[in-house]
């Protein structure tokens, strides 16, 4: 195929596919192109690797195979794309690559990755194992701000830092095929884990997240709130209270006009002993921001509730909410108190950890959106729209 191939490439791939069978599709899916004089092995986002035959000639099959695995992991974990979200400029891109290396190496080196040189591990960055590259990146930045270098490794290429290199023209694997290949590897990882059970935990997490991406709870909460408000408010209803502006052309027919009632919103906060205050404050702030975006900030009343209900507080900011209470919980009492408010809220948002009795039926005259705080929260009743708020889940920039 090429004039001078890379010696030992076949053996290196074979080593990689045997040692890490669950990554075999990825290893064989990447094209390896000889690139004399580059003095490194790099990868671009179209699954092309460029290797300097001079450099790799000294490596054992295991070492070259490990570098291939390492680069495939850069691609699987979308390091190039993620780099663009957090880095500015080439200096930061270099710091990012160290963080990205740590994310790969932290569980693959213990699993038998045999990289040449000194691979970067989380402890070199002063961090513990099992974090995301974004978190390692913070560690690298802190260290570099104090003038400490944290190891060095060859240029991993644009597949690791998102900075395009000269000579990376079109070609390679198109984006959608790369996506399919990633899913294939993720499926291989999961099925291997089911049969043999020895897949590094970080890689397993990646595979699960790739095949069943969890949606950010902020998006879900926003969509549920918008939907609840839209169904009540909006221009949903015609009203004859005011005639249509088109009555002039309609002769004797009285046309209705569109009316947009402004819905009232009540937020019922669970303040029982089992609640996590920080999480509650975070979600409350989120709810407030969403309502503000919908133009409803003034219509919000907040009720603190355990078994009894504190009087409603009309608030303009989440910081003003006083959470009083503790002890047992009954959200039914909170919802009943919300419905009793005048004017009656059209939308009731309940923020709870789920350890509460619920009314058997939906309350009349209000739509209920439940925010379930914490990954372990029991389910909400079927009549309410529920959103699970899991603080462990990715917020910004992490996928």
């Amino acid at each position: 195929m090429t004039e001078r191939g890379i010696d030992g490439l076949a053996a290196a791939r074979l080593w990689a596919a045997t040692r890490f069978p669950y990554l075999a599709s990825g290893v064989f899916g990447a094209a390896v192109i000889p690139s004399p004089g580059s003095a490194t092995v790099s990868v671009d986002e179209s699954w092309r690797m460029r290797a300097d035959p001079e450099l790799t000639a000294d490596w054992t099959a295991a070492q070259l195979g490990s570098v291939l695995i390492h680069h495939v992991c850069h691609l699987l974990r979308s390091h190039g794309e993620r780099a663009q979200a957090v880095t500015t400029g080439p200096e930061e891109a270099r710091a990012w690559v160290r963080a990205a290396d740590a994310e790969i190496n932290d569980d693959l080196v213990p699993a038998g990755l045999d990289l040449p040189g000194q691979p970067i591990l989380p402890r070199h960055l002063g961090a513990e194992d099992g974090l995301l590259a974004e978190q390692y990146f913070e560690h690298v930045r802190v260290r570099e701000a104090s003038g400490r270098r944290s190891g060095s490794w060859l240029d991993c290429g644009s597949g690791a830092d998102g900075v395009p290199r000269p000579g990376e023209g079109p070609g390679g694997l198109p984006g959608w095929q790369a996506d399919l290949l990633k899913r294939q590897v993720a499926q291989d990882v999961l099925s291997y884990a089911r049969q043999a059970g020895t897949v590094p935990a970080g890689l397993l997490r990646w595979a699960e997240q790739t095949l069943n991406p969890k949606v950010d709870w902020r998006r879900l909460l926003a969509a549920e709130l918008r939907r609840a408000v839209a169904q009540v408010a909006g221009a949903v209803d015609y009203s004859y209270r005011r005639p249509s502006r088109r009555s002039a052309v309609a002769g004797d027919v009285v046309l209705p006009a569109l009316r947009r009632p402004v819905p009232e919103v009540a937020v019922v906060c669970d303040t029982s002993g089992s609640m996590n205050d920080d999480l509650l404050a975070m979600v409350l702030a989120e709810v407030e921001g969403l309502l503000r975006a919908l133009g409803l900030a003034r219509q919000v009343r907040v009720l603190a509730c355990d078994t009894a209900v504190a009087p409603a507080q009309r608030v303009t900011s989440a910081r003003q909410v006083q959470l009083i209470g503790g002890g047992g919980t009954d959200m039914g009492a909170g919802i009943a108190a919300a419905v009793a408010l005048r004017p009656r809220p059209a939308v009731t948002v309940v923020l709870t950890d789920g350890y509460t009795p619920w009314p058997a039926q939906a309350p009349k005259g209000t739509r209920v959106v439940v925010g379930l705080l914490g990954a372990q929260a029991p389910d909400a009743p079927g009549w309410a729209r529920a959103v699970r708020v899991d603080p462990e889940l990715p917020g910004d920039g992490v996928r």
Binding site: A10, R13, S25, P174, A223, A235, D237, R246, G251, R385
Partner: protein, 366 residues
């Protein structure tokens, strides 16, 4: 740089318009969706009627009721008349996601059946919509699931380089895909593919979204699968790139179902292991490494599942034919075969082909 349509979304948009499948562009405000659609209409020679959905009332789409001789008629607005008289054209519904739910409900018939009040627009009218993601439009509503299900959703990305080029040297004219006459014949084939896929994954035939965030996107239903088949045939006939084809399919039936269908199509291309074992000489190794691996691994697994002497020898012959082009891939499969040697089977000659690479990889400890 080759003069290729660099934006797969624009290419996909052209195919959808040419196939007359209702399409919706999602993108941030100010990214040129509107101008791209107008330029597309101009390039195709279609009169373009722009209707901003968010400032309209339901009666603009459902028809304004007027009393004529004791009965109520639903009079269509002037833009609908103009399109009907022209006989063809492009109806562009802008700002779809800021249209209040009642207007969205009125749009249901317009989008799918092209009915505006008592008037039905000609089949040659293409419907295109544009919307900002609800997170980006302050007063945005999520699209209702029935409306979302009538459209092919395309995501409009902006390429910074294309913006720079366009600002400096003028915007590139859109490339209009040409559908040859009789392209609909290909639809039968793509429908067959979709049908075969749905036999394997019946759960995906109709899967309405369960959470509110997903409701505004495409989701699989018999209607959208039909749409996907039509778009697939059109993309094939127009000779558009794989990326545009994949965007159209995912846009019609939603991301999850679309990706599964695409993955299934790729797998369909792999040779059937049993056929290969029956006739090893017919085997052709796929060019891409991961596909070659998938093909050989499937063949090795088929032999391991039922290791008769005949199948085992046939498996080795296949590997022997592949050893030259992809010694590493074939060696992985060879290790599987070596472990399931049937009693009394003679060692095949091909086994020696793999000794060097296995030794180099440190896998042959004598």
């Amino acid at each position: 740089m080759p003069p290729r349509q660099s934006n797969p979304a624009a290419e996909a948009l052209g195919v959808a318009v040419a196939a007359r499948v209702p399409v919706l562009l999602w993108g941030a405000p100010g990214t040129g969706k509107t101008s791209a659609i107008r330029a597309m209409a101009a390039a195709m020679g279609l009169p373009c009627e722009t209707v901003i959905a968010s400032i309209r009332e339901p009666s603009d789409f459902a028809g304004l009721p007027i009393v004529v001789g004791g009965e109520v008629r639903f009079a269509p607005p002037a833009w609908a008349r103009r399109l009907a008289e022209a006989g063809h054209g492009l109806l562009f519904l802008d700002e779809l996601s800021t249209a209040p739910p009642a207007v969205q409900a009125a749009l249901l018939r317009v989008v799918l059946e092209r009915a505006v009040g008592d008037l039905t627009l000609p089949d040659e009218v293409a419907v295109v919509a544009a919307a900002n993601p609800p997170e980006q439009a302050a007063d945005g509503w999520d699209l209702s699931a029935p409306l979302a299900n009538r459209l092919c959703h395309l995501t409009w990305h902006t390429d910074p380089r294309a913006v720079a080029d366009g600002l400096a040297g003028g915007w590139a004219a859109p490339v209009v895909p040409a559908l040859p006459d009789g392209w609909q014949a290909e639809e039968l084939l793509s429908r067959g593919l979709v049908a075969a896929f749905l036999h394997v994954r019946p759960a995906l035939a109709c899967a309405p979204p369960t959470d509110a965030a997903a409701a505004g996107q495409g989701w699989p239903s018999p209607r959208t699968w039909e749409m996907a088949a039509r778009l697939m045939a059109a993309a094939g006939a127009a000779g558009s790139g794989d990326e545009a084809r994949s965007a159209l399919i995912r846009g019609a039936v939603g991301e999850g179902a679309g990706v599964e269908f695409l993955a299934w199509l790729v797998e369909m291309d792999l040779p059937d292991p049993e056929e290969v074992l029956a006739d090893p000489a017919s085997f052709r190794l796929p060019e891409r490494g991961d596909r070659a691996y998938a093909a050989l691994a499937a063949i090795a697994a088929a032999v391991a599942g039922n290791p008769t002497e005949e199948r085992w020898t046939a498996g080795w012959r296949v590997l022997g034919r592949s050893a030259d082009a992809a010694p590493d891939v074939a060696a992985v499969a060879a290790r599987v075969l070596a472990r399931c040697r049937p009693d009394g089977a003679a060692l095949p000659a091909e086994i020696h082909l793999f000794a060097p690479v296995l030794r180099d990889a440190g896998l042959l400890q004598a």
